[in-house]
């Protein structure tokens, strides 16, 4: 299977003014294949947020090479990065990050607007994806009219609508109660089964256990990278 992401010796250094420098990432090398379900774990300060930002093309590394579907992201300018984020990456955030004044349909439509998709096509795809995440009847509700779980489903729909190469979820259950959190994890599992590549950033071992593979970071380096042995699976449980 082809590599979606290839990180080679990625270093990220923050200049804190003066001579002081913070090394957030100290040479990380990783390879992610298509349709992998990976959890990136680590305590706060381990560099997992920085790594997520770099993988998500929100930030560029200080040094090292990042190949996304074979393209070098390290050399891209702002606009090219925006294009990659738009077409290839679907973000799901801990705090949902929906636009408060827009209804679900418009929130889901937004990446397609930036992708230059025609209005009718946009509406059709947004409605379809909303239906897929179980919110077909909530298209005209604004975020404050939805429950936390529903909001996160809208966010997932927004991430899916462009049919991206990877879905990058940053603590997607962090703001949800256990039951709703499990529902979202079920949704991710379903998406994985449908062939999506998922990267889950979390500090909860419980959540990480849903993935096939867990990468542990500590102090800016990969501490361990191994398959999840006792994988939690809803389908396995029900089977």
């Amino acid at each position: 299977m082809s590599n979606v992401i290839e990180l080679t010796n990625i270093v990220k250094t923050y200049d804190m003014g003066g001579a002081e420098e913070v090394h957030a990432l100290c040479g990380i090398s990783l390879t992610l294949k298509k349709n992998e379900y990976v959890a990136i774990m680590g305590p706060s300060g381990s560099g997992k947020s920085t790594l997520m930002n770099i993988i998500g093309c929100l930030d560029t590394p200080t040094s090292g090479q990042y190949l996304f579907n074979g393209l070098s992201v390290s050399d891209m300018d702002d606009n090219e990065l925006a294009k990659i984020r738009n077409k290839e990456i679907g973000f799901v955030f801990q705090t949902f990050n929906l636009l408060p004044r827009s209804d679900s349909l418009h929130n889901v439509e937004l990446p397609l607007i930036y992708g230059g998709i025609s209005s009718t096509e946009r509406k059709r795809r947004a409605a379809e994806v909303l239906k897929d995440v179980g919110l077909g009847d909530r298209g005209h509700h604004k975020p404050n009219e939805l429950s936390g779980g529903q909001r996160q489903r809208v966010a997932v729909a927004r991430a899916l609508v462009t049919r991206p190469s990877i879905i990058l979820a940053d603590e997607p259950t962090g703001n949800l109660d256990t039951k709703t959190g499990e529902e979202i994890m079920m949704l991710f599992e379903e998406l994985h089964r449908q062939g999506n590549t998922i990267i889950l950033v979390t500090h909860e071992a419980d959540i990480a256990d849903h993935a096939q593979r867990a990468i542990r970071l500590r102090d800016g380096v990969v501490e361990s990278d191994e398959p999840v042995r006792k994988r939690k699976s809803y389908t396995a449980a029900t089977a």
Binding site: D78, A82, K83, F91, L98, L99, I113, S118
Partner: protein
Amino acid sequence: MYFWTELKEGLIISFRAIRANKMRSVLTTLGIVIGIVSVTLMATAIEGVNRAFDQSAAAFGTDVLYVDKWPWVSNEDWATIRNRRNLEVSYAAKVERQATFADAVAPVVGTRKRLAQGPNSMEDGFVSGTTHQYINAAGVTLTDGRFFTAEESSGGRPVAVIGATVAENLFPREDPLGKVLRVGGFPYMVVGVCEKQGGLFGEFTSDSRVFVPLLSFQTHFGSRRNVTIQVRVADIKEMENAKIEIEGVMRKIRGLAPGKPNDFNINQQEILTETFGGISLVIASIGLFITGLSLFVGGIGIMNIMFVSVTERTKEIGIRKAIGAKRRTILMQFLIEAAALCLIGGLIGLAIAFPVSLIVDQFLPTAMPLSVVGIAILISLAVGVISGFMPAYRAARMDPVEALRYE
């Protein structure tokens, strides 16, 4: 295609943002409203003054030269001019004979007298003594009756042609033709009424004047007066040549030795329009500059509120960037918002300025020119784009990671 999608999305976002902050939007827009109202009203007023002037200046006739002791516009010493010899009635005939470019020549003398008719009267009415040639030399049109004939003129008959205002004041409810008008106590029969000229110059136009034959004027009011000689030039294209010719004729009549300066002036409408044009330009510039300041202040208000808006919506900008909004897209979004605020302000401003201009019209005949409407809309858009640019640029350049972290 992509541009229009972006524009449409930008407009939707702008109107949502404007609606979400109603009070703030109203107050900010108020600055632009006031700016546009003052600028358009100033432009309308200037237009009114110019129009009134043009109308008034037309009364002097573009093809008429006024040979006079006094210049209309001058930097010369007043005392020197006053000491010049008066022009005489006899010059008119000489100019008419010698000046080939002249079509009609009329000497005009003037004084102020009480005008009375029955119970109605006008103090200080402006009385002009002239010949029958005046109607040809001055371009006056009559609405009623006729101008006095050559015979009446040379015979010094007590007949009068009156201006429109005089007719209105002294003959409010009757036909003045054939009636007797007392000029400085002497009876004159009204034979004609001039067409209304209107304008700024009041008694310099025919409106408030009474024209009587020169001979009777001299008999009743004395003959030792300065005379103005009005010359209508046959071909308006020959105005400059006519001036040179008349200058030569006048110097000969006055017996001026070569090298001596002229002791008379040849005035024409152009002098007035040129002088006024200069003054009007200065007034217009100052007026528009001062009112423009209020628009500038409005623009600063927009800029200020856009900075606030950008800061408030840092998170939103982060989200949009994360899901693929380019710098240009974000820049456009905020520029559209600023331009929309200003455009709304501009339109409201015009909606207010228009009825106000109708009120102004009562005092100074004017109308808001269509060009002012167009320019006002363009200016308000420009103010929006200019004052929105810095905040929009700041938004466009935000780091998505930083922006997403903002709470």
